[in-house]
């Protein structure tokens, strides 16, 4: 065995030097690189969640509630020697001399944070330091971004609600930042809890998130949790370090699956390249094997030498792939990381293990069948070269590879059913693409006679190896399709979505309008010469009973239903149904009716199994409010007009504390009106829909950019499939070209033939890609997003021309050796 190891190592060095292993190892590097780049990235986020969970939480245990948390909890915590601190979070407007801005306010008290640290700096981009304590009363700490948005600086005074604050520091790091939402739309403002009252922003109807944080000995924390959890009321939950950042966890899991599966496409293609280049490697080593047998190598020895050689190659290529993946994940972090709001630690070794495993599985899955053949090469081949030839490609060559890759895909999906769906989808898609590619080749072949001689030569070359050509068309087709889908088609869909909104769709929302401000606000608008927008009353209540039965989130399997029951609803009342709502069942109430009635949006009615005639009970201000459901209605949510899940008939809700909201269209040149309004009504929060849409667009762009980036590996893998295919036919091509050259064909003519072959290949791939991208775009537009689909000719132009030019160039580079090979040498080599 020691001799085999030595030999395998030497053979590897020698074959490497001879360039026999370049494509094979590159394919493995790409496979491992694509998997590990995703692996490292998701691993870093996972580690951040695990190792920094209490830092991310700002405590060891947090109670989150949509109403004020009882102080008795703090007393209980004291008894167990737990530290505690409370915070509240809500959106509001902040005003500076000239501008105003929606911000996310967090009011904290010492000793916040219980875990982790706040970091602040006194100047933009200056080095920061750990803050001791929390902002002093009357001062605030803000995100640096806010300084730019408001055009202010440290030490300037800004207004929040009815109070003025001095900006004391720039907040550079905050544990538990934006907990509850991955992507925060509003910059953070941190102030002292004692200052909240002076802002006048928090009323019973305000949407405020209360937190009470605890930290201490592990056992004490566990005891405390066990004691408190049974006492949790609706709208309250505990978050320990195990459940920290559930939204990041689920986003991470989705990203891991999706990007992981996307990376698998590259692995699959790399597998094809591995199979093709292994075939050539083995074919070129048949004689060597025979000679080795001849000079005394045993079957076992020869097989183990080649197997070990493959193992070393796999491990080394895997290591390089891991390095590539590690480098590549920085780009992913660059693209995606800024959307998350916490620092990422260095990754663990787990992705390396998985990467190496993927590399070896891919390598042996696709290279083992031809490798095993080496064992059977008869030594007599040294005398008779026709013996022991490698059988032509067959199911057995690719079968094992596809089986192990299928297993990897299912494993990557993390769920058998999902994995099988993905696998099935992939197989069907590949078969369809193969069918289309094959048909296109056939059609092209029928025109062959009418082509110029070089093109005829090129097309003939493609037709001569139809399976290989089809594989290459699919590989490039997939890569180009993803690029088209995520650039041209994505922009089309986003634009179509923007266009689908009516011109007067509301672009500003006003919330937190107090009942006594309804009249003055209408007056304000008319004074400004604007049409007063409709104001809708808004009351917060929790659904506790449907049709006489108490409801709990855990009664429902549907996550949406659970979510709806965990939080408070925004309820409203109205005499008339909004014009853009449509009655689905039952009747709208008339003025003459005195019965207490509810109108329910059909979506939540379905999620919660609410029917016309059911009596619903809401808990509002700790009181039970009940009414019968008299109708269901459909709502056009993407119209951006204010709408409510549940609307009560007049007389049901008016006596409870409420606020008002409005959504209206403000022409862009009138934005100064808002500044004036916010100054006059400082508690009103203005939400700029355009800004929200821009944020959504940025998130979509980032996410698709990340996916595109992962598919870049697919394109490279496609190139490798092509190079592997070129290399597997290189000897044949060299022989042909030499014969043609000795017969008098010039280099230019041969070069034109090569260009014709690969431009055709690329154009076909581009065509397949454009067709698939258009089809997917259509399905996404019409069936998923209910948008109108517009044919975009650019997809076809970019696909075909880009594909033809790109692949043509790559093909010419790949076959350079053929044209530059000295004819005499080729003839001598036979």
């Amino acid at each position: 065995m020691a001799a085999s190891i030595r030999m395998s190592w030497r053979m590897l060095r020698r074959d490497w030097r001879a360039g026999e292993l370049t494509v094979l190892s590159l394919a493995l590097v790409i496979a491992v690189g694509s998997v590990t780049s995703v692996g490292f990235f998701t691993d870093r986020v996972r580690l951040a969640l695990e190792n920094q969970a209490n830092t991310l939480l700002g405590a060891d245990l947090v109670m989150i509630s949509d109403r004020v948390i009882s102080e008795t909890l703090r007393i209980d915590a004291d008894k167990l020697a737990l530290e505690s601190a409370t915070s509240i979070e809500f959106p509001s407007m902040m005003m500076a001399a000239e501008r105003n801005q929606l911000v996310s306010i967090k009011a904290v008290e010492s000793p916040y944070p219980l875990r982790g640290e706040l970091r602040i700096s006194q100047q933009r981009f200056a080095s920061d330091r750990v803050a001791t304590g929390v902002p002093e009363a009357g001062s605030i700490w803000v995100d640096m971004q806010l300084l730019d948005l408001l055009g202010v600086n440290v030490n300037d005074v800004v207004r929040v609600g009815e109070a003025d604050f001095k900006i004391a520091s720039i907040l550079t790091n905050e544990p538990a930042r934006a907990s509850g939402q991955l992507f925060s739309l509003a910059p953070r403002v941190m102030l002292n809890l004692t200052d909240v009252a002076s802002t006048g922003l928090v009323t019973p109807a305000s949407r405020v998130r209360h937190r009470m944080m605890f930290a201490g000995e592990v056992a004490a924390v566990a005891n405390f949790r066990a004691m408190v959890e049974p006492r949790l009321q609706a709208g309250q939950r505990m978050e320990g370090i195990e459940e920290a950042r559930p939204e990041v966890r689920s986003a991470l899991e989705r990203a891991r699956r999706f990007l992981g599966l996307a990376a698998m496409v590259s692995v699959l293609l790399a597998g094809v390249a591995v199979a093709t280049s292994s075939q050539r490697f083995i074919r070129r080593h048949l004689d060597s094997c025979a000679v080795m047998r001849c000079v005394g190598g045993s079957q076992q020895q020869i097989l183990s030498i080649f197997m070990l050689q493959m193992l070393w190659l796999g491990l080394m290529a895997g290591a390089v792939g891991c390095l590539l993946g590690f480098g590549a994940q920085f780009v992913l972090v660059g693209i995606m990381g800024s959307l998350a709001d916490f620092a990422l630690p260095t990754p663990s070794l787990l992705p390396i293990l998985f990467g190496l495993l993927t590399g070896l599985v891919t390598q042996f899955g696709f290279a083992l069948p031809p490798l095993l053949h080496l064992k059977n090469v008869p030594s007599l081949r040294v005398l008779r070269r026709d013996l022991g030839a490698l059988p032509t490609r067959s199911i057995s060559t690719y079968g094992l590879g596809f089986v192990v890759l299928s297993a990897l895909i299912v494993w990557q999906a993390g769920d058998l059913k999902l994995g099988l769906y993905v696998l099935g989808g992939l197989i069907v898609a590949l078969l369809l693409l193969a069918g289309v590619a094959f048909l296109l080749l056939k059609v092209l072949a029928t025109f062959r006679a009418h082509l110029f001689v070089e093109w005829r030569f090129g097309v003939t070359n493609l037709m001569r190896r139809p399976m290989s050509s089809v594989a290459q068309v699919i590989a490039f087709g997939l890569g180009i399709m993803v690029l088209l889908l995520f650039s041209v088609i994505r922009d089309d869909l986003l634009n179509e979505w923007g266009d689908s909104l009516p011109d007067d769709a509301p672009n500003r929302f006003l919330i937190n309008i107090q009942p006594d401000q309804v009249e003055p606000l209408s007056q304000f608008f008319s004074e400004e010469g604007l049409k007063a927008p409709a104001l809708y009353p808004m009351i917060r209540g929790r659904l506790v009973e449907i049709g006489g039965k108490a409801v709990q989130p855990e009664h429902y399997e549907n996550p949406r239903a659970q979510h709806l029951l965990e939080r408070q609803f925004n309820l409203s009342w109205a005499a008339q149904m909004q014009v853009d709502n449509q009655l689905i069942a039952g009747e709208w109430w008339t003025a003459a009716e005195s019965e207490r009635q509810f109108s329910v949006e059909e979506g939540i009615a379905k999620a919660l199994s609410i029917e016309v005639g059911d009596t619903l009970v809401f808990l509002i201000d700790e009181q039970r409010v009940s009414a019968r459901v008299s109708n269901l209605r459909s709502v056009e949510w993407d119209s951006f007009r204010p709408n409510f899940f549940v609307i009560a008939s007049p007389g049901v809700l008016e006596s409870y504390s409420s606020s008002f909201m409005s959504g209206f269209y403000l022409p862009e040149d009138e934005y100064l009106v808002l500044d004036k309004m916010v100054r006059q009504f400082p508690n009103i929060t203005v939400i700029d829909i355009a800004a929200v849409m821009t944020q959504v667009r940025i998130i979509i762009e980032r996410v698709t950019l990340a996916v595109e980036y992962v598919f870049l590996f697919t394109l490279i893998a496609g190139l490798l499939v092509m190079y592997a295919a070129i290399y597997s036919t290189l000897d044949e091509r060299i022989r042909e070209s030499v014969i043609l050259r000795t017969l008098g064909a010039g280099r230019r003519r041969l070069m034109n033939g090569v260009i014709a072959e690969f431009v055709t290949l690329g154009a076909l791939a581009g065509m397949v890609a454009a067709a698939a991208a258009s089809l997917l775009g259509y399905v996404l537009a019409v069936h998923l997003f209910q948008l109108e689909y517009h044919f975009n000719g650019w997809v076809w132009l970019i696909g075909i021309i880009g594909g033809g030019a790109g692949i043509g160039l790559a093909g010419v580079l790949g076959t350079r050796k053929v044209l530059n090979y000295p004819p005499l040498l080729a003839l001598r080599e036979g």
């Binding site: 020691a2 001799a3 030595r6 030999m7 030497r10 020698r14 074959d15 030097r17 001879a18 026999e20 070129r284 004689d287 060597s288 025979a290 000679v291 080795m292 047998r293 001849c294 000079v295 005394g296 190598g297 045993s298 079957q299 076992q300 020895q301 008869p378 030594s379 007599l380 040294v382 005398l383 040498l825 080599e829």
Partner: protein
């Protein structure tokens, strides 16, 4: 199990080789018996297709006969399995082929090192270099086969054949791909090394001049041994 059978290094008894072809059964070797003594140089001659290469292949244990027995260095060759025969070749046999059969990715030195490495020997480069120097290629150690002329390639092959100090060297048309002057030099080298190492040479050729330099020529025709000619020139 080695048997002591006089001082023959090769002994063949009732050897036949038949293959099935589309035209029916084809007899390549027909009931052939012969003996080759240690230290002897023997040429197998005959027309193309007469079966001489088939005989060489079977004598070296590269192919198996349909009938008959072959003893190589006292071992009943076909009682051994394929790996057993390979091991025997490793310790006893050297080869030189018409088409050189050098591994294209290996330098001259590495090609010569190969049989030693396969035998598990360590630090074989000095031995291989010495052998290459012996065949006049001391300056060409690190050249690849395609950088060498035909004659040089064959000399590398001879070095590879002799580096294991074989008891018997099989050569298949060793000058077939060389011009006559180069062929002459290669043959001279072959016999020189043969003498130095006191090895046995069995070579297949249809070069009558080469055959005459051997102690004996075994003439094969249609798979049968038709004549044994003793050479006087040796």
């Amino acid at each position: 199990m080695a048997e002591n059978i006089s001082h023959s290094i090769v002994r063949v008894q009732g050897l036949s080789k038949r293959v099935v072809s589309p035209e029916g059964e084809l007899v390549l070797l027909d009931d052939l018996s012969l003996e080759i003594d240690a230290g002897e140089a023997v040429a197998i001659v005959g027309a193309s297709g007469s079966g001489k290469s088939t005989l060489l292949g079977i004598l070296a244990g590269l192919d198996v006969p349909s009938d008959g027995q072959v003893w190589l260095d006292g071992h009943d060759l076909f009682k051994l399995d394929e790996d057993g025969r390979a091991a025997l070749r490793q310790s006893t046999v050297g080869f030189v082929f018409q088409s050189f059969q050098l591994l294209p990715n290996l330098t001259a030195l590495e090609n010569v090192m190969l049989p030693l490495e396969l035998g598990g020997a360590m630090d074989v480069a000095p031995q291989a270099s010495e052998m290459l120097a012996r065949v006049g290629l001391a300056e060409r150690l690190h050249h690849y086969p395609k950088q060498l002329s035909g004659g040089e390639q064959q000399r590398v092959a001879i070095a590879r054949g002799f580096v294991v100090k074989p008891k018997i060297l099989f050569a298949d048309e060793p000058t077939g791909n060389l011009d006559s002057a180069t062929g002459e030099r290669v043959i001279a080298l072959l016999f020189e090394l043969n003498r130095e190492q006191d090895a046995t040479i069995v070579l297949v050729t249809h070069d009558e001049a080469l055959a005459r330099r051997c102690h004996r020529s075994l003439r094969i025709d249609a798979g049968r041994l038709v004549a044994v000619e003793r050479s006087v020139a040796v």
